[in-house]
């Protein structure tokens, strides 16, 4: 019997400070063992438990694409009270990090084949959306999906994640990108405005389309009515949830909303599924 609590070992290969506040870092991890690297197959939207040995674990969405076989990437926000996120942020290149996963369900990749996909992201909840966009834009996969539209926003230009990548996507003809900030600065030449408002202007068609929405609760609250107005059905609106977790495999009893465990039955849910759950988030 496999021990579901034991992580595999990885090494920090690269660390990117993502934002001006310096509390968001992307860790590129490489596997220490080739066999374990080959066994680690994941789908967009899944997460893993990251272990700082001797400190603890925390669940983080996988931000790299399944097409990136050589490494995994995780973007981690440091919270003042977050034991593990602080320890992670204090790690150095070459440090060993435990990874347990992939865990949870994924975005509905098969269902999205042949369809247009709209991505709506806010702040640092953009990680698994980035994984999905990278995956869909990959030359081996691009033909499986229709038009791709991205609306992504952050509080300020300095808080946008993956800035280089966003520039690359903007330069492509393959994905329509709308990057916005709540408030720009003197160098900002892009859009200003909240994500729901920009989404309303962009007004993507609901025909043959699925929308993936990941952002802070306040963004979700104002985005859902816009999507409904645009004509998206609640079964075509897909989001990903966060909860405090320990085991990540549906055993330890803490991340449930009603009878559903966010770790095992989620983290990806359609808006339709969420409507059937009690309001306890």
């Amino acid at each position: 019997m496999k021990n579901p609590y034991r992580p595999i070992l990885t090494k920090i290969e690269k660390v990117t400070v993502e934002n001006e506040a310096k509390d968001l870092k992307t860790f590129q991890l490489v596997f220490c063992n080739e066999e374990e690297a080959n066994d680690f197959r994941f789908q967009c939207g899944q997460f893993a438990e990251l272990t700082v040995l001797g400190v603890g674990e925390c669940p983080i969405g996988i931000a790299s694409s399944p097409m990136d076989k050589a490494f995994l990437e995780f973007t981690v926000k440091r919270y003042p009270d977050g034991l593990v996120t602080n320890a992670l942020h204090n790690c150095r290149l070459g440090d060993k990090i435990g990874v347990r996963g992939p865990l949870g369900n994924s975005f509905p990749m098969e269902k999205m084949e042949g369809k247009n996909v709209v991505f709506v992201g806010g702040g640092f909840a953009f990680t698994t959306l980035r994984s999905t966009i990278k995956y869909m834009l990959h030359e081996d996969n691009r033909s499986k999906f229709g038009n791709l539209t991205l609306v992504y926003g952050a509080r300020s230009p300095g808080e946008l994640l993956y800035k280089e990548q966003l520039k690359e996507w903007e330069a492509l003809n393959d994905i329509e990108t709308h990057i916005t900030v709540d408030k720009g600065d003197e160098n900002w030449k892009g859009k200003e405005g909240f994500v729901p408002a920009v989404l309303d202007q962009v007004a993507p068609s609901p025909n043959n389309a699925v929308v993936l929405v990941c952002g802070p609760p306040i963004m979700l609250k104002f985005t859902l009515p816009v999507l409904t107005k645009l004509g998206f059905g609640s079964g075509e609106i897909v989001t990903s949830l966060e909860m405090r977790m320990k085991c990540g495999i549906g055993l330890c009893g803490r991340c449930n909303i009603g009878s559903k465990y966010v770790c095992r039955d989620g983290p990806v849910f359609t808006f339709e599924q969420l409507q059937a759950l009690p309001a306890e988030m």
Binding site: M1, K2, Y5, R6, L251, C252, G253
Partner: protein, 341 residues
Amino acid sequence: MAESKIDKNKIPELLKAVSADYTLYGPKDEAGIVAMGRINSVEELMLDYRNSTISAKELFLPRAEVVYEFDGQKFVDDKLSDEKRVIFGMRPCDCRALALLDRNFDTDQVKDPFYITRRQNTIVVALACNQPASSCFCTVTGGDPFGQEGADVLLGDIGDSLLAKAVTPKGKDFLASYSKFFLRQGSGNWDKQAKEARNKIKTELNIENIKSCLDDRFENDVWKTVSLKCLGCGACSYLCPTCYCFDLVDEKTSTGVKKVRTWDCCMFPLFTKHASGHNPRDVNSARLRQKIMHKFSYYMERYGVNGCVGCGRCVRRCPVNLDIRGVLEQLMAAPNIATEK
């Protein structure tokens, strides 16, 4: 299955023989309370007890156990228990609790090797309950004082002797191995005994529709009312034979680290608190709701049975006399009006 009986005078001999082949566990006095502990000499085993203060849960899910160890260079091989055990004299409610825990720890999707190994290495010899306490309500939740679910062998006290029947193939082998202590018998008078015991359970509560009733009342002020006197101490969870929620904690060793699984409890505020400070169950009433809903709604939804065996420990040991039977009654009696948020 074949039935037999054993004279009570023969029990010490039987237990000695069993101890030679297995590590023996059973009800014993531990500093004034009855616990399911290791029996070092057969005189320690108590068979005239009502129910153990502490359930047998910890024999399968210890309060703390190492789930992996990293010595600084590599992971150490898992230490799975190889102890072959017999638990003698467990009450049917606690046996049934094991059958419920199996549904969580031994599933098609996930298997917990630590729990499963202990289950496989253990023979459970249950002792039917002739004297249910006033706080017992196993019949309300689907159990029975003479129930055999989760047990390998069921014993029934008929005065001078104990009736015995095998419940599982493992139990049949067990009885066969020690057949010299037992007398064969056509068919014991189980039914009469069982009926008498059942009639001694005085709790009158019908929870047939509890799931839909609770689901309808998720947003309801009645939760505030029923949780008013709850201290959130978690004594109920720790004593409950079916509460299994756990924490995973890192501990440093001289050269590396180990991961320890410890009991945890949904009544504690930190149980669900995010690193960001957000807490989806930030008030006591939401936590008590989780505890009740988990047992009587969510468990039912996932596994088709409710997650309470009616052992009554939470009723007997709550420091403020919060009686779960009364709570369920109050919930079911509450008007089905959702509270405006």
